[in-house]
């Protein structure tokens, strides 16, 4: 079931909420939690009931190992073996489902082995629930878990708002919340705040992300099919995808956070205006924050982090980012994307180091410097997304060639005429204005729309700033609190007016879920 489906919004969610609060109010907390677990499993099984076996087995397995680890003395061979076995079993499971085909395909290519392997359908959300439970095992080994109740543990893994696409929650931030009696009592303001955050997320997904996708999809399709793209076409596709991905993913995280809030649960923050980042290190503190946290705590730091000198640190960063890339999908373009971001991070750390050497401290940079830094960071991220989105490596290169102007700068004649002196200036710089528009030039309106989205992304407050009064999400990093903007005018409040705005936003977002099928025909 998708959050942006009628069956979810109008049937599943209201029923689950109503029954949860009825059970909770009448004192049956255990029943209420059981209900949420069952509802979450139903939500999960909606796509493919066959996957229920896998997630249930995974829960029983990891919970049992956690119990054993709790009872075993830390550091002993027995504890180490249990942990190693648990982590290995989880990795084998995800490796089989997610990476077996990738591995066999590549082995066939390299060894010309001709192995035949049926395509394995990836069970939904396996990357998310596997990672959450590996973290749990590692912490159980370190003695950082309590004796959790099984129902609560099952809910921690399956809780439907975060099950499919994160945030990747940590047991320490979730399980204590289930103990808190207050969440079982209905509170209308909590529901309202949750519904408003959900509405903002749904709006981002159905209205903005789905709307901009029409500019991205055909450009990447063309590039993957070997079509040469001109400058404007390539940038249109790359930027459209950059925005689509952001509004889609951050919208989904908002929805998750809003849904959990309706049940009185706070989820960790997952996106915090990543494209406002002034450097790549900052970008990764704002983009898919719970994944960054997981990779830092369970990959980068165990590898040694920055403790073994700068060169080892760079190697660790690269390994972490390569694994991060592979986590997103079993394909070489994802690996390249990870490598690219690893390289960016290494450069960023090197640059910071040089600045400290030269200036004695990291230079702050003026407004202009920050603006340049933001643009450079953004372009670096866009280049990364090209690899992330393209189906093939040559497809990604084709888009990048177009963006670099290697296939020329072409606009239709009408646009040249409409631009007046600017058009003349561009012509002088070598731009061509042709009678026939390039196939993937979608008119000045598309450029205007992209500019509008860029403005929204860079200059408007994000969901958490808008909702800042009501502590919408948990901070992911203890040291970096969600900054509050004093005097923010676009700040949602518990007033009738703002409540009505939330309702209107929900309505428009739901309108975005349906479309009337159409047939595009050249004659018109």
């Amino acid at each position: 079931m998708l959050f942006n489906s009628y069956v979810f919004v109008f049937a599943f969610l209201p029923i689950v909420l109503a029954v949860f609060y009825l059970l909770g109010q009448s004192g049956g907390r255990r029943l209420a939690v059981t209900w949420l677990v069952l509802a979450s499993l139903f939500f999960y099984g909606w796509w493919n009931p066959a996957n229920l076996g896998l997630i249930l087995a995974s829960i029983f397995f990891n919970f049992s190992l956690g119990l054993m680890l709790n009872k075993t003395e830390r550091g002993t061979t027995k504890a180490k073996s249990i942990l190693a076995f648990g982590v290995a079993a989880n990795l084998v499971s995800i490796g089989y489902y997610k990476y077996a085909n990738f591995f066999v395909d590549n082995a066939n290519f390299v060894l010309d082995a001709g192995w035949n392997f049926d395509t394995i359908i990836l069970p939904l959300a396996i990357s998310f629930f596997t990672f959450q439970q590996i973290a749990y095992l590692v912490d159980a080994y370190a003695g950082e878990t309590s004796e959790y109740n099984f129902l609560h543990y099952a809910l921690f893994v399956t809780f439907f708002p975060q099950l499919i696409a994160g945030p990747i929650v940590h047991h320490k931030e979730m399980l204590p919340q289930f103990e808190f009696g207050n969440i079982y009592k209905f509170a209308s303001n909590r529901l309202l705040i949750g519904a408003t955050i959900f509405a903002i997320g749904l709006f981002k997904k159905t209205v903005i992300a789905d709307g901009i996708a029409v500019y991205a999809t055909p450009v990447f399709f063309a590039a993957d099919s070997g079509v040469e793209l001109t400058f404007v076409e390539a940038w249109t596709g790359a930027l459209a995808y950059t925005f689509q991905l952001y509004f889609d993913f951050s919208g989904y995280s908002d929805m998750a956070i809003g849904l959990a809030r309706m049940f009185g649960i706070r989820l960790p923050l997952n996106f915090f205006s990543p494209y406002k980042a002034n450097n790549i290190i900052d970008f990764w503190r704002r983009w898919h924050m719970t994944l960054s946290r997981f990779l830092r705590d369970y990959v980068y730091i165990p590898l040694g982090g920055s403790r073994r000198g700068p060169s080892r640190r760079h190697v660790n960063l690269m390994i972490t980012m390569l694994l991060g890339g592979l986590w997103h999908g079993a394909g070489w373009t994802f690996v390249i994307w990870g490598a690219l971001h690893g390289t960016y991070l290494v450069i960023n750390h090197g640059f910071n180091h040089v600045r400290v050497e030269v200036f004695g401290r990291p230079a702050e940079g003026g407004a202009a410097g920050r603006a340049v830094a933001r643009v450079v960071t953004f372009v670096a991220v866009v280049v990364g997304w090209v690899f992330f989105r393209a189906e093939t490596f040559p497809g990604a290169l084709a888009v990048l060639e177009g963006m670099a102007g290697m296939n020329g700068f072409v606009l239709p004649q009408q646009v040249g005429a409409a631009l007046g002196p600017i058009g003349d200036g561009l012509a002088a710089m070598g731009w061509q204005f042709t009678a026939e528009a390039p196939a993937h030039f979608y008119g000045m309106r598309s450029i205007g729309y992209l500019a509008l989205l860029m403005t929204i992304i860079w200059y408007l407050p994000n969901t958490y700033e808008i909702m800042q009064r009501y502590r919408p999400a948990m901070e992911v990093y203890a040291h970096s609190k969600i900054p509050t903007i004093a005097g923010l005018r676009l700040q949602w409040r518990l007033t009738p007016g703002w409540a009505a705005v939330g309702g209107a936003c929900a309505c428009i977002a739901i309108l975005g879920m349906s479309s009337v099928s159409e047939f595009l025909y050249f004659q018109f």
């Binding site: 303001n189 007033t495 409540a499 009505a500 309702g503 099928s517 047939f519 025909y521 004659q523 018109f524």
Partner: protein, 410 residues
């Protein structure tokens, strides 16, 4: 208690008021022309209707309840006039859908019959309608909305009603319709009408780019997409379009419909496109099979065949010279581009099919021939010869189309 939930009630209020506003706006502006609200200069220029013709046509048939139909692809829509005096049973409705496949034509015929029994039907036959490889229908077709599918109004109309009042696309289309209200170059719906008029839109195209560019654009679309992977049989259903055509005849017999069939005229360049696409054998097979099916049906009904005309082929009309590149002054008499004929030719076609004499100017009588099993082979031979001659005498036209094909094949 009431006060405690005050803000939640305002949230609901915001939701409901927005929903009502959007619903009323979409209903009033009616961008797909299905609610019958059209005010000249406000929302008659319904540009968004073009991509939703199947929805529009299904609703229009219910509103108009025609006794006579013109049915076919956009060729019928742009070239045949429902006000032609040859129709005796009124109202007449021009039921045309872009690139309509045979299955769709059958289903819409059944739909119209379920709304009101039909008396007279002129069916325009188009080679494209028999393509079933990509499926038996395209784009916005939906069986569920047809009266022949369900007698229950709610089952039939409610999904469209909800989607066309409550979706963001429709909201955008409504706002767009209000913005372009004075643009005379868009498909139009007459006030209180349910027909779609695209003549003015085509006239604007001629004025803007000239005929030749329109020819080239259309030919490219056919070579690239419409005629690509041509097959008479659907891969999904395994059914052949000929079987569906047979079903059309059976349906007409069962309901005593006066059915007249016409292979619609195309410009000679369209026949070149078919040839260059490698579809000439399929094209001949199409004509032969259609003629055979009509004959088979006649044999089952005492030799009384549904009349069928062939307006395609090479003749002084179809070989009408195309104005040169960038010539946007000279107007063609009979065609918009390769695939679409003008009403001037359509009126003559309806004259022949309906037995009237109203068209002016009138082409010579070799345009449009009654075909049957007796003369089909001769027709096909003539066409082959005509094709050779046209190719020889119109080198530039031929080379132009070959160039498009080469460009596509890379």
């Amino acid at each position: 208690m009431r006060n405690r939930h005050k803000n939640l009630r305002y949230f609901s209020l915001g939701f409901v008021v927005t929903a009502m506003f959007v619903g009323i706006l979409n209903w009033t502006v009616d961008p797909y022309g299905i609610y019958g609200v059209s005010i000249e200069g406000v929302n008659t220029a319904k540009y968004a209707i073009s991509n939703h013709m199947r929805l529009h046509m299904a609703v229009a048939v219910e509103k108009i309840a025609p006794q006579s139909l013109i049915i076919g692809t956009s060729r019928a829509g742009l070239g045949l006039d429902e006000n032609h005096p040859g129709f005796t049973a009124k109202p007449v409705y021009n039921l045309n859908m872009p690139a309509a496949r045979m299955y769709e034509l059958l289903r819409y015929l059944q739909h119209a019959q379920a709304v009101r029994p039909l008396k007279q039907v002129v069916m325009g036959l188009d080679f494209l309608s028999f393509k079933a490889a990509g499926g038996e229908y395209v784009g916005d077709f939906d069986d569920g909305r047809l009266a022949s599918n369900s007698r229950n109004w709610a089952v039939r109309r409610l999904p469209d009603l909800v989607a066309t009042l409550y979706s963001i696309d429709v909201l955008a289309a409504s706002l767009g319709t209000l913005i372009v209200r004075n643009d005379t170059c868009l498909p139009r719906v007459a006030p209180a009408g349910y027909g779609v008029d695209t003549v003015a839109a085509n006239q604007c195209k001629v004025a803007r780019t000239g005929h030749r560019k329109m020819f080239l654009d259309s030919e490219q679309e056919f070579l690239l997409d419409l005629y690509a992977k041509y097959d008479f049989t659907s891969r999904t259903s395994g059914r052949s379009s000929f079987a569906i055509f047979r079903e059309v005849l059976r349906f007409a017999r069962r309901h005593d419909i006066d059915l007249r069939l016409a292979i619609l005229p195309v410009h000679a360049r369209q026949l070149m496109v078919i040839d260059i696409a490698g579809l000439w054998p399929a094209y001949e097979r199409w004509k032969r099979t259609v003629v055979a099916i009509v004959a088979e049906d006649a044999n089952e009904h005492g030799g009384n065949a549904y009349p069928m005309w062939d307006f395609s082929g090479f003749n002084h009309v179809s070989t009408e010279p195309v104005p040169g590149p960038r010539d946007n002054k000279n107007q063609m008499t009979w065609f918009w581009e390769s695939s679409h004929f003008k009403k001037s030719l359509g009126n003559y076609l309806l004259d022949r099919v309906l037995g009237t004499e109203t068209a002016a100017p009138r082409p010579k009588p070799d345009v449009g021939v009654r075909i049957n099993t007796a003369n089909i082979e001769e027709r096909l031979r003539d066409a082959r010869a005509g094709k050779r001659d046209y190719q020889q005498n119109n080198r530039t036209d031929h080379t132009e189309i070959v160039a498009i094909k080469k460009d596509i094949d890379g």
